[in-house]
Symmetry: C2
Subunit: 215 residues, 2 copies
DNA sequence: TATAAAGTTTAGTCATGGCTAAAAAAATTT
DNA sequence: AAATTTTTTTAGCCATGACTAAACTTTATA
């Protein structure tokens, strides 16, 4: 009843936000056709994992959310584990964890968590949900919402897009890095920040994927 | 074209020996019906992984053997990796590796092999096939074929059966252990061996699963 | 507000990999 | 050698999760 496909749908819905997820949006995210997404939404709905209002969108139920967070937990624990043991580069972690997450038993999940001392952040700074779906409450804020003329500390970088990840690394935008926000372009919402005495322009897209805390 | 089910069939055929594997034997090993096994044998045959003589049995082709050994390599590398990092007990290793082996990418396989310094034995003493299917030539012999009144060293214990594994451990039959073969029962082919000054009777079934070398 | 466009669902198809029941071949007994 | 048992295959069915094409809502535009 729980399958790889179902877990992928639940995780995708979690990523896309809390409510009224469009079929097309979900289908695009999973690279399937809208018809396939409708099909699966109906099945998940029958199993009480998803709420579906025809033509209006779908959202996770409490049970569905819990299962989605379980997948996310496995993913992030795996990233942390592979990083610590094999020293995989930050760019490789996501792809490998994506393959393994569905095959991780509860037992192995527990062993890994214990081995890592129950970490609350993965190597990209993302919070790791607890065994029952508890998620770390943090005061990380998205970079694009940050006030000008503030000093911030980088807390989360995205993990999926290789190109973005490499760009961030090449420009010194890494976890724990201090960064001063100089200005914001009112036309395209890009930012100019100062890192280690050099100025860097951060596109609007990227500034929505990086999270920071105020210093 | 390569799927979990197909990999399981190839691995099972490898385990069952080199040629003329019966449909029923294969089906029993995989806990599917004979009809399902016939079905899959035909598919693998179409893909050149298996030779099938109707009503006579099936066997792996060179390509099929190579793919089977690739699965075995992943399995045994995973066992070794999980043992070394998480310190999983010997009894847990098999089950966990069984789940993960199909999801291990070539990249991760390589990383793990390198991390472990290209091991040639897994924690149960089984040889780990190389990246191209090369298997360690060793002079391990099956315990049941061992001459009486010889001193032997335990080199391989089975990994699948929990009960057997626990019995072996509880009786001191572990890798590297010295063992003296005292006698053989001509009726049931069981053995009596001396380990650490105590005598142990080993059933015929188990004596076919343990491999040793002469001292 | 009527129409076009965008998004969603329905209907029907396909491959995969199970299953059962029945037919056919091979091996074993009598 | 004939009959029986065992093994294997064939035929047909089912669930899963993709797909296309067409129908149907909803939203946006003229």
């Amino acid at each position: 009843m729980t399958s790889i496909a179902r877990e992928d749908y639940l995780k995708a819905m979690w990523k896309l936000g809390s409510s009224n997820i469009g079929t097309l949006e979900l289908a695009n995210h999973l690279e399937v056709t809208p018809a396939s997404a409708t099909n699966m939404i109906l099945k998940l709905s029958e199993n009480g994992l998803v709420m579906h209002k025809p033509y209006k969108g779908a959202s996770l139920t409490d049970t569905g959310l819990k299962q989605a967070l379980s997948v996310v937990r496995r993913h992030r624990l795996l990233e942390t584990f592979l990083s610590k043991t094999l020293g995989l580069s930050n760019e490789d972690l996501h792809v490998e964890a994506e393959r393994l997450e569905h095959a991780l038993s509860k037992n192995l999940e527990n062993s890994i968590a214990e081995y890592l001392d129950n970490p609350v952040r993965d190597p990209h700074g993302h919070p790791i949900p607890g065994p029952n779906g508890e998620i770390l409450t943090n005061d990380d804020i998205v970079l694009s919402d940050c006030p000008i003329n503030s000093t911030t500390l980088i807390r989360q970088v995205p993990d999926e897009d290789l190109e973005i990840l490499l760009w961030l690394k090449n420009n010194g935008i890494i976890l724990g890095q201090k960064m001063y926000i100089k200005s914001k372009n009112n036309f395209d919402d890009s930012l100019v920040v100062e890192i280690n005495d050099s100025l860097i322009e951060i596109s609007s897209i990227i500034s929505k994927l990086v999270y920071v805390t105020r210093e």
